[in-house]
Amino acid sequence: MKYISTVIESEYIIEILDEKHLSINGEVHTIDFEEVDGQPVFSLILDGKSYEAFVYFEEGEWKVMLHGTLYPVLVEDEREKRLRQAYGGGVTQTSEYHLKAPMPGMVVSIPVEEGQQINKGDALLILESMKMQNELRSPRSGKVTRIRVEPGDHVEKKQTLLSVE
């Protein structure tokens, strides 16, 4: 089975040859790969080097926490990659972004208005939780569309708060 895996800008062609071998960009390596006790913790011995990492899927990509660094990895087979490229890879760019509450809390204030033009990194909403006021920032530039909550509201985890298009 052959995969194209992308970490930030770097692409790796990884082929799983059998239980004990894989190739990365054509180079063959010996592997010994195991899940540790049903946790999302995995142990990999690659040519004798021992690695342990958290690996989990989130928001369309794999996250690998290794030696204190979080690597986002996109794993695709060739068909998936062709499909993504055909659609221009920018699917998420044109659709709406929905700001969701990362945890239960109370809306303290909403420093933006519907229709307002905002930049990536601007604060969209202040949420109070765990005795702290938390600024939720926009991951992209765009225009605020629907604001679904108002200051004083108590919101649940994953509840959509407002949208940016």
Partner: protein, 504 residues
């Protein structure tokens, strides 16, 4: 003399206090809210009583119920820990009125130091330098503060009069943003301390936050246990502490001088029990009294590590009316200690708090490692209380050894189920400026970027790609029900069965 102590707190600090009591042969009484029925402090205490609903004001802030429980259970003393009721002079007084020992200072000292304004006036009168600001001028309105601000000069800090721990605090860089920030600070102060008053304070740049641990008994003995360097803060919340301070380093004269000033400040309010004098120190070694925390501090274990003094046991000893076990001459610092505060928060999501059930914990152990925690696998982190779930403390002969030990301990520490700031600490431990001890209170926010995308050449991006691919592949194989023959058994269970054959 009491032989049973009620701990009016939860989490790691309640566990810490229960441990000290056990080791002194004292019985312990825990109190708990609905979400804490299975918390470690309830599991470890000799007695446990239900307080109320999860929100603090319906449980851990219910001083009346807590005193009632103490009386009912026969506890002779109350230890407030930190936070919650720890710095409420009225609660301390209510304990005394009920005939209970309050393991902390006298209500008058809490009141004097608790109101930052009075605190600064008092220590100032005792000859201790203070940071310029409006403290001491009473409760001022926004209009009054806006008028005074330019005379202090920007940048400045708006701080909760009743506050502490960075809550109800805002940094103000110009007059335009000031009304908005004052309101935010008041709001947070009101929520956290039930008092929305704020004051202004000059923001010293390139400053260090250095504090001195004080112990004082009823016999008039006041000593300090040396300093803690607490400059590493995020949003005015301490995140990592170390002792000695790399800034003071081996300037024993400077240390002694500050220590003496700290003792003088404590004496100015007739202080008894454990407390902490916080200073701001500028790059020219000018130091200013900031505030006194009239309670046990989160970061007390690093002082315990280097001085070998059990601060909680001393607190109890003092509350029992005994004189200190130590004189100033007995105290010296051995080696170096660092504490990383492990918070349930996601460093990759702007440090938003993380809640949920902890599914697994692998604790770092071994030489020179101490963990103070109130959680365990299976426990659920609720959104009601603060996000500190564990303190990782290391002790080494030198600062270098302590840093290397902290690195290996952080790498060993595994928590699944909630996100933690462990990766943040790992990156901090690898920062050259941290390693060199060159940092001030602005370091984390101004010069330290925590970003997962900054993956340099020396990184393990290829290994990450392989790991993700193997996990994805495994998942595909499983979901398509492909049954492989000869697949290696990943457990060592089968060997228990094979033992017979192999043994021949």
């Amino acid at each position: 003399m009491f032989d049973k102590v009620l701990i009016a707190n939860r989490g790691e600090i309640a566990v810490r206090i229960i441990r000290a009591c056990r080791e002194l042969g004292l019985k312990t009484v825990a109190v708990f809210s609905d979400v804490d029925r299975q918390a470690l402090h309830v599991r470890f205490a000799d007695e446990a009583y239900y307080l109320g609903s999860p929100p603090a004001r319906e449980s851990y802030l219910r001083g009346d119920r807590i005193i009632e429980i103490a009386l009912k259970s026969g506890a002779g003393a109350i230890h407030p820990g930190y936070g919650f009721l720890a710095e409420r002079a009225d609660f301390a007084q209510a304990c005394i009125d009920a005939g209970l020992a309050f393991i902390g200072p006298k209500p008058s000292a809490i009141a004097a130091m608790g109101d930052k304004a009075i605190a600064r006036a008092t220590v100032s009168a005792a000859g201790v330098p203070v940071v310029p600001g409006t403290a001491g001028e009473g409760a001022l309105s926004n209009d009054e503060l806006l008028a005074i601000a330019p005379t202090i000069g920007f940048p400045l800090l708006a701080k909760a009069t009743a506050g502490g721990g960075g809550k109800g605090m805002r940094e103000v860089r110009n007059i335009e943003e000031m009304p908005r920030l004052l309101n935010a600070a008041r709001r947070e102060a009101e929520a956290a301390f039930g008092d929305g008053n704020v004051y202004l304070e000059k923001l010293l740049e390139e400053a260090r936050h250095i504090e001195f641990q004080i112990l004082a008994d009823n016999q008039g003995n006041v000593i300090h246990l040396g300093e803690r360097e607490c400059s590493l803060q995020r949003r005015h919340q301490k995140i990592l502490e170390e002792t000695p301070s790399p800034f003071i380093a081996d300037d024993q004269e400077f240390r002694q001088q500050m220590g003496e000033v700290a003792v003088r400040a404590a004496k100015a309010v007739g202080y008894v029990n454990a407390g902490t004098i916080e200073f701001l120190v500028d790059k020219d070694k000018r130091y200013y009294f900031l505030e006194m925390n009239t309670r046990l501090q989160v970061e007390h274990p690093i002082t315990e590590a280097v001085t070998n003094v059990d601060i909680v046991k001393e607190q109890i000893r003092i509350a029992r009316g005994r004189s200190l076990n130590y004189t100033q001459e007995d105290i010296s610092q051995h080696g170096w200690a660092i504490e990383c505060r492990i918070n349930a928060e996601d460093p990759y999501e702007n440090f938003l708090p993380s809640t949920g059930r902890i599914s697994h914990i692998l604790l770092p152990t071994g030489p020179g490692v101490r963990v103070d925690t109130g959680v365990y696998p299976g426990f659920t982190i609720s959104p009601y209380y603060d996000s500190l779930i564990s303190k990782l403390i290391v002790h080494g002969k030198t600062r270098a050894e302590a840093i290397l030990r902290m690195r290996r301990a952080l790498e060993e520490y595994k928590i699944t189920g909630v996100r933690t700031n462990i990766p943040f600490h790992q990156m901090l431990m690898n920062s050259h400026r941290f390693m060199a001890g060159q940092y001030d209170t602005r370091f984390i926010e101004d010069r330290f970027s925590f970003n997962s995308v900054n993956i340099d050449k020396s990184s393990d991006a290829d290994i990450a790609a392989i790991l993700a691919t193997l996990v994805a592949h495994q998942q595909i194989q499983r979901s398509t029900h492909i049954i492989r023959r000869g697949k290696r058994d990943t457990s060592n269970w089968k060997w228990v069965g094979r033992w017979e054959r192999m043994h021949r």
